[in-house]
Every structure is written in C-alpha cells, then in structure tokens.
C-alpha cells in the first residue's frame, strides 16, 4: 500500500486486519471456482439467447406488416386476374355486335339503292 495518510493517521491494527481477513476469506475449494465460472458462462449463454429472441421480437411487428402487405397485393392481383376474362369478353361482344350492325346498315343502304334503281328502271 503506497498511500500516505496525511490527515487521517489511524494505523491498521494487525490483529483487526487478521480478523477481517479471516472474516472475508474467499472459498478455497477449486471446485467452487470452476462452478462459479460455469454459472457465469451459463448466464452469458442465456443472455445471448435472450438477446437473440429480443431481436426476433423486434422484427416481428415489421415482419407481420410486410406479410400483410404481401397478402393484400396478392389478393388484389388475384382479383384483377379474375376480372380480366369478363372485360375481354365484353369488349369482344361489343366488337362483334357493332360489326353486324354496320354491315346491316351498309346492306340496308345497298338494298335501298337497289330498290331505288329498280323503281327508276321500271317507270
């Protein structure tokens, strides 16, 4: 001990120090220290597991949100694919429906022309 007590000069009493040493004696058994070391390392391993779980728990909420978003997108795509054949058939139907009408009108105009020509020739 290199300390030099300038103001506080009470010296250590060897008998009191001896009694204190005995009172505060650490376990002497080597097995005790091996066991303590094992307990420390077990706590560290448990702490590492706990922190891994904490990380996993931290990711759980954003993970669930991402899964929900993926589910929504998938549902929307599915719905879109289900609606597509109807819209195609509707377009096809309108196209088919318009063409005969046009042809009919055209045919109708031609027949009127033929009819008019037939009237003029007959008179």
């Amino acid at each position: 001990m290199a300390d030099n007590d300038l103001e506080f000069t009470a010296e250590a009493d060897p008998r009191v120090t001896g009694a204190l040493r005995s009172h505060y004696a650490a376990p002497r058994d080597e097995a005790y220290w091996e066991s303590l070391q094992a307990q420390v390392m077990a706590r560290i391993a448990a702490g590492a597991r706990a922190s891994w779980l904490q990380v996993a728990a931290g990711w759980a909420r954003p993970g669930l949100a991402a899964a929900a978003a993926v589910l929504l997108v998938a549902a929307a795509l599915f719905q879109l694919n289900r609606d597509e054949p109807e819209s195609i058939s509707f377009a096809a139907m309108t196209q088919i429906a318009s063409q005969p009408e046009f042809i009919y009108i055209e045919n109708d105009a031609a027949s009127q022309r033929d009819e008019t020509l037939r009237l003029v020739v007959s008179h």
Partner: protein, 179 residues
C-alpha cells in the same frame, strides 16, 4: 479451453465472439471480482450474484472496451457497480440482521467464536461505505485512488472512511483482543 495467450489476446478473441476466451478471462479474474463484491455487499451469496452480474455486464459491454487498457481495472469498476446496485436494493436490511449473519464457512476455524461475533457486530455498526473501504484497503490492498474510482467517491472521503473505520473497529474489538 486455451491456456496460452496474454490477457490482451484473450480480450480481443472475446471481442470477436469467442466465448472460450471470455471463459478464460472469467477464470483469471473471478477471485479478485469476488473479493471486491464481498467487500461491498458483505454477504457471500450477494457477492456471488454481483460477480455473475458483473461478468455478464462486462461481456455485453466488451465491444466498448479498448484492449490496450487494463482489463482488471475496467472489470473492477463493473463489479463494484454491480455490488453497489445489490446494496442499494437491500438497503432495508437492518444492522441487527447483518450482525446476526456470521459468514464463517470460509473463515479460519481456529478463530474464536466470540471474536467472530464481535467483529460481525462491529462491521454492522460501521455502515456500508466505511466497511467497504477498510476491507478493500486493509484486506484486499487497493489504493485510495482505486477505491475512490470503484465506489464513485472522492479520494479524501475514502481516506477519511478508512481512518474512522480503523478507529471504530479497534475500539470495538480492543477489549476482546486484550483479554
């Protein structure tokens, strides 16, 4: 488990995540850690808890530790903090309860029962901080500077605590020792 390598190498390996290296550091420092904790918490079981808690904290904070610095000094402060936390939690313990507890399982069997009883009573009357200071200084050999850092008190307070603790213990145990 490795037995070679300096403490610095062990620290660097532990910082890389090698638990075996940290286990070796535990083996190297656990006796000193126990002595510090025991000086502060008084009771063996609490000292054991403080040592375990301190090593866990040290492992978690290992990334912040600079390997060129002395690991023992850094660990000592962590041990002292863990022990002080336990002391704060158990502040309600009465002096009577403390003096009733005589941790004699590791002490010298040749020592008289009366001396043990009187010493336990005298230590209980000392109060937590002066008791820690006298044990850390006179039993464990720490300097006032080291004790002040560990306990988070001014160096002058450590000196004054030691002075008063020595006087009080000598006074309390004086009669018995003169017999």
């Amino acid at each position: 488990m490795r037995n070679t390598g300096t403490e610095r190498e062990l620290v660097v390996a532990a910082q890389r995540g090698e638990q075996a290296a940290f286990a070796e550091l535990v083996a190297l420092h656990q006796r000193r850690a126990y002595a510090i904790a025991r000086a502060i918490v008084y009771v063996h079981e609490d000292a054991e808890d403080a040592v375990q808690e301190a090593f866990l904290r040290a492992y978690q904070a290992l990334g912040k530790f600079r390997p060129e610095e002395p690991f023992g000094a850094w660990l000592s402060r962590i041990v002292a903090n863990a022990a002080l936390d336990i002391t704060r939690r158990k502040k309600i313990r009465k002096a009577d309860e403390l003096s009733d507890y005589i941790p004699d399982r590791f002490s010298d069997p040749g020592e008289s029962e009366e001396l043990r009883r009187r010493l336990a009573g005298a230590l209980a009357l000392l109060g937590d901080r002066p008791r820690s200071v006298i044990v850390l200084h006179d039993v464990e050999g720490f300097t006032h500077v080291e004790i002040a850092k560990m306990l988070g008190i001014p160096e002058g307070t450590a000196r004054s605590d030691l002075h008063h603790a020595r006087r009080q213990l000598r006074k309390t145990l004086g009669n018995l020792q003169e017999d």
